[in-house]
């Protein structure tokens, strides 16, 4: 994965657990400053070691950490260098999700070795979206679920995210939320 993910993990740990915790994770994962370059692509094994270290430090399971990290990522990206891109991609949840693939397509052009997931809105009703997620990576469903929860937060929506595992895609997410008029 790209170093920007590593940087976000670091920031999350620094925000929530402090410098000492991050130093322990660095030692545990065997990484240092050289693994924190945003535009550098690293072996997924390094990312996994890092996330496993952060989960251990937070005393949660890997899936629990990934979920929380997904949620954090949206906030991190919005407040950092990627904020303008996020804003452009959509100012409401349905628009944002409909345009995620366009966003990823452009990211792919800039980061050619990135393995981008695919997101397709397969059902859209008032207060309900079903989203098909496909990825060549395994084990990232909790992260995506966290991302979707982060998006609910970002757009000020109350709702919940569930997922199923249809055969045709990696996972199908069902996002139910209350629209402005219902809240």
């Amino acid at each position: 994965m790209y170093g920007m993910i590593h940087r976000a993990v670091r920031q999350m740990v620094l925000d929530r657990a402090g410098k000492l915790a991050w130093s322990e994770i660095e030692a545990m994962a065997g990484i240092g400053q050289s693994e924190l370059i945003s535009a550098e692509s690293y072996d997924d094994a390094i990312t996994l070691r890092l996330i496993a270290g952060a989960a251990e430090c937070s005393k949660v399971t890997l899936d629990e950490f990934l979920l929380e990290f997904g949620r954090y990522w949206i906030q991190y990206a919005e407040q950092g260098s990627f904020g303008a891109i996020l804003k452009f991609t959509g100012n409401d949840l349905p628009t944002f999700l409909r345009n995620l693939n366009r966003l990823h397509g452009s990211v792919q052009s800039v980061m050619p070795v990135a393995q981008m997931p695919s997101f397709i809105v397969v059902r859209e009703e008032d207060g309900l979206i079903e989203l098909d997620y496909s990825s060549s990576r395994q084990g990232m469903v909790p992260f995506v679920e966290g991302l979707l929860q982060g998006l609910l937060d970002r757009f000020g929506l109350q709702g919940h995210v569930e997922h199923t595992y249809p055969e045709t895609v990696t996972a199908r997410f069902r996002i139910a939320f209350k629209t402005g008029s219902e809240r």
């Binding site: 260098s81 452009f88 100012n91």
Partner: protein, 523 residues
């Protein structure tokens, strides 16, 4: 062919569409226009809000409608441009337009993806541009972090360097005591060969300790990066004990030096650092032990520019596990490391050192068969004299006399805060024929200087309270003819030393100090 489009379809294909009546008054707009040009309301005239051009020339909607000519609309109110075609539409015109961003910076643009049609290539361009901009910003942050980390490590190195310097000073004091007292003891037991041999063992160990301390002192002097002609063979030989300590007990260090006499223009500190990096890498490549061979040779060849023809080649070869090709290819890359907690700066700094010195590096590694790193540095054609600009270091340059002789008695004031070292030094100088007065502080020395005239002042630099250099300055003002010899294992950076003062490096060799005093007091 006539095409019918619903408003929804129209808005999807051309979100920035404008429907006008025959008098070019606004009838309806697509979502992008209503969002970005809220002042353009139904009934308003198009030309009150936009300037129309075709290929840079003023144009009329009526003239270009249905001709397939590309129309450009520049807002008269905001800095925005629309491009598209005018089509006869119902009883008026449809301007099928798209936003044409004047710059691709999304920051503060207020642009949204819904301002563009699904197939509009501008979206891809905007996202790509912004992504690149975001990554540049990220890299700027990384660079700032690295710079901050570098500054922190430099500050740490500086603190360590100072601490190492002061520790070396103390260590050298102890070595001085051992060496001077060994010399005293030898005079007491001239008829006991077995005991004499033991004293030699003690003195030899102190001398090795002194060599290691000197290497550490050189390394601790990080600020001294002046380049001088250096014999790499001599430098390596001089630091052999330190290198042996660095590679550790499990790794054998073999030297094969064949570049005697060849000199290169380098900073000794940087060279030592560079060799140290290579040796540490070699050591780390052999966790279960092995052998590292440090060799040198002179090679004759031309570089690409046809310049330097003689090179000193240093080779550091280990018997470790070697590297895979993809690792080897990146070995000199900054921040690349396969070691846990590796900074990726070791080999990168080796390359930087070599390039700075006009040389080059290369690495040859075979998995399972060890690694060889080559460092090629240009030879100086003519043996230039060392333009050190530093302090005279007579201990290195003076040759010690084979035996001690009686000299004219001369009064010498010795200032040394280590009582045992002072005692030994005074006794040895007395035996050698000097009238010696020994004191342990600058204040006591000033008292003596007020009472009596001395030919020479031999003082430690680092003293409690007033430093030896400050004392020497005061003493020289009282008696300008006084010869000053400063001695120390460490010269703090802030000390200012006069040109005509002599300097004696600790630990002190009895014969060298005697010779130096003899020369100074005779002059």
């Amino acid at each position: 062919m006539k095409i019918q489009l619903s408003q929804e379809q129209r808005d999807a294909i051309f979100p920035a569409n404008i429907v006008l009546d025959q008098k070019l008054r606004l009838v309806a707009v697509g979502p992008t226009i209503s969002r970005r040009f809220p002042a353009f309301t139904p009934g308003e005239k198009l030309l009150n809000h936009f300037r129309l051009t075709v290929s840079g020339q003023e144009a009329n909607v009526e003239d270009v409608a249905g001709t397939g000519t590309m129309l450009r609309l520049r807002s008269l109110i905001s800095d925005e441009v629309l491009r598209g075609w005018a089509i006869p539409w119902q009883s008026g015109y449809l301007l099928a337009l798209r936003l044409a961003p004047l710059n691709y910076d999304l920051e503060n643009s207020g642009l949204q993806i819904t301002d563009f049609a699904a197939d509009d290539p501008a979206v891809h361009a905007l996202l790509m541009f912004s992504m690149q901009r975001a990554l540049l910003e990220e890299e700027r942050l990384v660079a700032l972090e690295l710079d901050h980390a570098r500054q922190q490590s430099m500050e740490l190195a500086d603190r360590l360097s100072r601490a190492a310097g002061f520790m070396a000073h103390d260590f050298n004091n102890f070595l001085s005591i051992i060496m001077l007292n060994s010399e005293r003891l030898k005079r007491e037991i001239v008829d006991q060969p077995q005991a004499l041999r033991l004293v030699d063992v003690i003195a030899g160990a102190a001398a090795r300790g002194s060599a290691i301390t000197r290497s550490l002192m050189t390394l601790s002097n990080q600020r001294d990066d002046s380049r001088i002609p250096v014999s790499l063979d001599a430098l390596i030989e001089e630091n052999r004990p330190f290198f042996a300590t660095t590679v550790g007990a499990r790794v054998r260090l073999d030297l094969d030096l064949r570049a005697a006499g060849a000199k290169t223009l380098v900073s000794p500190v940087a060279t030592l650092n560079c060799l140290l990096n290579l040796l540490i890498n070699a050591r780390d490549a052999m966790p279960r032990g092995g052998c590292v061979k440090l060799s040198s040779r002179v090679e004759e060849r031309t570089d690409v520019s046809g310049g330097c023809k003689r090179w000193v080649e240093i080779e550091v070869a280990d018997t470790g596990q070697g590297m895979a090709k993809e690792v080897c290819d990146r070995a000199f890359d900054p921040l690349f490391s396969t070691k846990a907690h590796g900074t990726g700066l070791g080999l990168a700094s080796v390359r930087e050192f070599a390039v700075d010195a006009g040389g080059e590096t290369r690495i040859v590694s075979t998995e399972g068969a060890g690694t060889r790193v080559y460092l090629n540095l240009p030879c100086l054609d003519h043996e230039a004299k060392a333009a050190s600009g530093g302090r005279p270091d007579l201990q290195r340059s003076s040759s010690a006399p084979a035996h001690l002789v009686e000299y004219d008695r001369a009064d010498v004031l010795v200032v040394e805060d280590e009582a045992f070292a002072l005692e030994a030094l005074c006794e040895l100088l007395n035996i050698s024929g000097f009238d010696v007065t020994g004191v342990t502080s600058g204040a006591a020395a000033m008292e003596e200087l007020g009472r009596k005239r001395f030919k020479a002042l031999l003082t430690d630099i680092v003293l409690p309270g007033e430093s030896g250099a400050e004392l020497a300055a005061q003493a020289s003002r009282i008696d300008p003819g006084l010869k000053v010899i400063l001695m120390s294992g460490y010269v703090p950076q802030e000390e200012s030393l006069e040109e005509d003062w002599l300097f004696l490096r600790k630990p002190i060799d009895a014969r060298v100090v005697t010779e130096m005093l003899r020369t100074a007091t005779r002059a």
